[in-house]
């Protein structure tokens, strides 16, 4: 019990003292996850909106796959990215394995389907209300997609936050393609796993507290956005 309280006290000291190792790991985590969410947003937002607006053969299958991909196990995504980036894989020449870029790719693979599926649902609901009015304005399909994305902007921002929450808390995929190399690819989740296995609870607890604060902060921000929108009643 004394060991545990001591570990907590040391963890808080690491945070309060801006421990360089802790800061480096937190910074890399944020860089990787924010990059992944930006890339996943660039893919998932238009893809989800396009599926919501367009009608084409096999659309129901695309939606089913999109929804199923939301539950993609991280280790499977990590394995797929590993096989692609490994020396014998199709993208092996790029030399990205065990780099932060590989971790961004793995998290993008995990997050993009979530963003696409949630965007599809949000835009489809809106499309029912706006379709005739926007077509009456003379707006084509691409204009319809961009307009609906803008109209749903607040809801979609919370979708991006949800994607970020998934990315920053993920461990399986990034440890497979990043390798958890000290000062290179070590992020909060992989460091927590490693430090815990070594019995070095101070850094693990410190990182765990920071991770918890980030995840809670993201959720609080999403909640505030929703309340703000409800208060203004125009979004």
């Amino acid at each position: 019990m004394d060991d545990l309280s001591g570990a907590f006290a040391q963890a808080f000291r690491l945070i309060a003292g801006f421990d360089p190792d802790l800061l480096e790991i937190v910074t890399l985590s944020l860089q990787v996850s924010l990059s992944a969410v930006i890339v996943a947003g660039l893919i998932g937002l238009p893809a989800g909106a396009a599926v919501a607006v367009m009608r084409f053969p096999g659309r129901a299958v695309v939606i089913a796959v999109m929804n199923a991909m939301m539950g993609l196990p991280p280790v499977v995504a990590g394995l797929a990215v590993y096989l692609m980036l490994s020396r014998a894989g199709p993208l092996g020449d790029w030399g990205l394995l065990y780099t932060p870029s590989a971790m961004v790719i793995a998290q993008t693979v995990l997050v993009a389907p979530i963003i696409a599926a949630l965007t599809r649902q949000a835009i489809e609901d809106l499309h029912g209300d706006y379709d005739e009015q926007l077509r009456a304005f003379g707006i084509g399909r691409s204009g319809m997609i961009t307009t609906l994305l803008w109209e749903a902007r607040v809801g979609l921002f919370t979708v991006l936050l949800a994607g970020f929450g998934r990315a920053i808390a993920e461990v399986g995929a990034v440890i497979m393609v990043g390798g958890n190399i000290n000062h290179v690819t070590r992020v909060m989740t992989t460091a927590i796993a490693l430090e815990t296995s070594k019995g070095a609870l101070e850094l693990a607890l410190g990182l765990g507290i920071v991770l918890l604060v980030i995840v809670l902060g993201v959720n609080a921000l999403a909640g505030l956005l929703r309340m703000g929108v409800a208060g203004r009643a125009h979004a």
Binding site: E132, A136, F137, G138, I139, T147, E151, A233, H234, A235
Partner: protein
């Protein structure tokens, strides 16, 4: 930010003094030709039932043509056909002799029974309609303000459109449709369920648009409104349209038994 919008933001819930709307004339603008807006031998069939059954209607003459008839006659569907929003199963819709296309869509203004407001300010709603109709960015703000002023809504320019009252939203919807300078205006029961003040404001805008030379098709259930506004009345029942006649003729000498029953206020099945 407009001063009233600012005050509403700083002091939410505190009523702002009502500014009497300054009504100005709707503006007219050039653009591609869409007249006449015409539908011939139109048929729309759903689940084996003909919702529009050989209907024909041409919007060409200046003024207001009222489209009247019982519920389920196919009036709103015909309006959407003429607007090019729905493709008929049979028959043709033409604007100035050619098939409707989205490049000319802003020249056929359309106002729905339930206004659809974009999630932005009243001014931005009008500016959006101007943008998609090809108006240059530098002109949009002034033209949007002028359009709002034509409907007496300039004091609401900075207000989010979706928090306006039902009457204000419908008025904004009409102003937004008028802003790009349409040649034809299709109105689907624009004053249904509105209070008399809002109805008066919308009817005033319709009258001024008609006087400015716009061709207006007005779907309405209200005989009194048709008498106030319409130059001609087309009666629709069972998916078919009787030839438009003058409002006086329609109310004094109905051309068919169903029109006669409708005018007399009897139930038309």
């Amino acid at each position: 930010m407009h001063w009233q919008g600012f005050c509403a933001w700083v002091l939410p819930g505190v009523p702002m003094p009502d500014v009497a709307p300054r009504i100005t004339e709707p503006e007219k603008f050039d653009g591609p030709e869409v007249l006449p807006v015409s539908g011939r031998e139109l048929v729309v069939e759903r689940d084996g039932r003909k919702l529009v059954d050989g209907a024909a209607l041409t919007i060409d003459q200046p003024g207001v043509t009222a489209l009247m008839g019982p519920n389920g006659a196919g009036k709103s569907l015909l309006l959407r056909l003429l607007a090019g929003l729905i493709a008929p199963d049979h028959g043709t819709v033409t604007w100035a002799g050619t098939a409707p296309d989205r490049l000319r869509a802003s020249r056929v203004g359309l106002v729905f029974h339930r206004p659809v407001m974009l999630r932005r300010t009243a001014l931005a709603n009008v500016a959006f309609a101007l943008k998609v109709s090809g108006v240059a960015r530098v002109e949009r703000h002034d033209r949007a303000l002028a359009a709002l002023a034509s409907g007496g809504l300039e004091h609401l320019a900075a207000s989010p459109a979706r928090v306006l009252s039902g009457g204000e939203q419908q008025r904004l919807s009409l102003v937004r449709a008028l802003a790009p300078g349409p040649q034809a205006l299709l109105l689907d029961e624009p004053t249904a369920n509105l209070d008399p003040g809002s109805t008066l404001a919308i009817e005033d805008l319709i009258v001024r648009s008609a006087e400015a030379g716009m061709r207006i098709l007005l779907v309405t259930h209200d005989p009194a409104q048709a008498q106030r506004l319409a130059d001609r009345i087309a009666f629709m029942h069972d998916g078919q349209v009787e030839a438009p006649v003058s409002a006086d003729s329609f109310f004094n000498e109905p051309a068919s038994a169903k029109a006669s029953a409708f005018v007399a206020g009897r139930l038309v099945l």
